[in-house]
């Protein structure tokens, strides 16, 4: 399984490096959205709940762009069939796609979080950064798992560009709620109390449940 996941992951990253179809688009979308918020809110800076909400909603929409592209090369170029013809565990593709999506999200956040800090955020980000990274990591796992599951389902339909976001958004709402609530104290001027544990637990539990659901369903999504 590890070898198969490695081969799939290498292929995914090579294709993305050659095409730059997903990550630059996701990053540009996030930065543009921050600029739009900057002018639309008519405020030089935000903090607390509002800052957390803007950050998570922007990351979520940018992630959906990536999830929608995650299986396009496989569907359009026969990659699914090539994979299905090999005597390998179908779950390897799910694991590789989740890892690919996680890699996309990490790069996205490396661009988006500093841009957010420069364009919108009032309080300094430095002190909260280690805790923010932990919350983002938990959120990213959930987004990657759900994005992979929904991407695999949507890509097999004619209306994949529409169906992907429509399916993904309701499933990702708990992650936005958990992520925003956990992040809000970190982005406040007072920076009081640190990250609420219950929201971290909620995110972790949601990741676990959807990880198991994706593992159970993924084979059925690929097979005839």
């Amino acid at each position: 399984m590890r070898r198969t996941v490695g081969a799939l992951l290498r292929k995914e990253l090579l294709v993305e490096l050659r095409t730059f179809e997903s990550v630059p688009g996701m990053s540009l979308f996030a930065v543009t959205t921050f600029v739009v918020f900057h002018f639309a809110l008519n405020r030089s800076s935000v903090e607390g709940d509002l800052a957390a909400g803007i950050l998570w909603v922007t990351l979520l929409f940018a992630a959906i762009l990536g999830a929608n592209r995650l299986f396009v090369a496989d569907a359009d170029q026969g990659g699914f069939d090539g994979f299905l013809l090999a005597p390998v565990d179908r779950s390897a593709m799910m694991v590789a796609k989740v890892l690919t999506m996680l890699a996309y999200l990490v790069v996205l956040e490396l661009v988006a979080v500093p841009a957010f800090a420069i364009l919108l955020l009032g309080p300094p980000l430095g002190p909260a950064l280690p805790q923010l990274i932990a919350v983002l990591a938990l959120g990213d796992i959930g987004i990657a798992v759900i994005g992979t599951l929904v991407g695999a389902l949507a890509v097999q339909t004619r209306a994949r560009d529409l169906l992907g976001p429509l399916l993904a958004l309701p499933l990702l709402v708990p992650i936005v709620i958990g992520g925003a609530r956990a992040t809000a104290p970190l982005l406040a001027f007072s920076h009081a109390g640190g990250v609420p544990a219950r929201w971290l637990l909620t995110l972790g539990l949601y990741d676990l449940i959807f990880g198991l659901i994706a593992y159970a369903l993924f084979d059925f999504l690929l097979e005839d």
């Binding site: 070898r3 490695g6 170029q77 026969g78 005597p87």
Partner: protein
């Protein structure tokens, strides 16, 4: 044990019957050539035999494995060359083949041998999107035989190949390969030349099933009228 055994195979897409009541037996090392007009069910037959599609009725045994229950055991022992090359356009021929070699647990040295076998003329490190259709077909053939399958499922394998290319790939997918083969073709003369058994399909049903020696090119052409 026969390489292929079909009894009453049926497959439909929604209401439309793509294959209905197809039965045949093909022994190991033999070649079955399938003829039929567009939409007759040839490609569907190959996809069922390759385990990519489930049969909806009938009994299908491929290399001794009953489909769909034992599809897992048959995969990796068969090579499919369909209309699509099943390759990534942004990757080079070598990268594509290395990827498939990893999936099939094939040593990377085999990739180099297969690249030599299809004579990529030094273009094996260029992205596939920059290659001609003939070159892509050569890479697709290399992919289909990379893991040395016992059964080859070939859908018009010579399409886009020039005469030199056809000669070049003959040791890999031709009679000399010694493999059991199922070939879909529209060329009666060329198809009959390498066939042991001939299946003619019309609207998903068997219109002709005879040993190759008993079939003439004229009889095949009648299928298309």
């Amino acid at each position: 044990m026969p390489a292929l055994q079909l009894e009453g195979l049926a497959r439909h897409y929604g209401e439309r019957e793509a294959l209905s009541d197809v039965s045949l037996t093909l022994q190991e090392g033999q070649t079955l050539v399938v003829f039929g007009p567009n939409g007759a069910g040839k490609s569907t037959l190959l996809r069922v035999l390759s385990t990519l599609l489930r049969p909806h009725a009938g009994r299908v045994q491929v290399l001794g494995c009953s489909l769909p229950d034992e599809a897992w055991s048959a995969r990796g022992r068969l090579g499919l060359l369909g209309h699509e090359p099943l390759l990534y356009r942004e990757l080079t021929a070598r990268e594509n083949l290395r990827y498939h070699a990893s999936l099939h647990r094939v040593p990377q040295e085999r990739v180099e041998r297969v690249i030599e076998g299809v004579a990529m003329s030094g273009r094996e490190d260029e992205p596939l999107r920059t290659l001609s259709r003939g070159m892509v077909q050569r890479v697709a053939i290399a992919r289909a035989v990379l893991h040395e399958p016992e059964l080859l499922l070939l859908d018009e394998p010579h399409s886009n190949l020039d005469p030199a290319g056809i000669e070049l790939v003959s040791p890999l997918i031709g009679p000399a390969s010694g493999r059991t083969r199922v070939i879909c073709s529209h060329d009666p003369e060329a198809g009959l030349a390498g066939a042991d058994l001939v299946l003619g399909l019309r609207s998903g049903r068997t219109a002709l099933l005879l040993p190759a020696g008993e079939v003439t090119a004229g009889k095949i052409r009648e299928l298309y009228r």
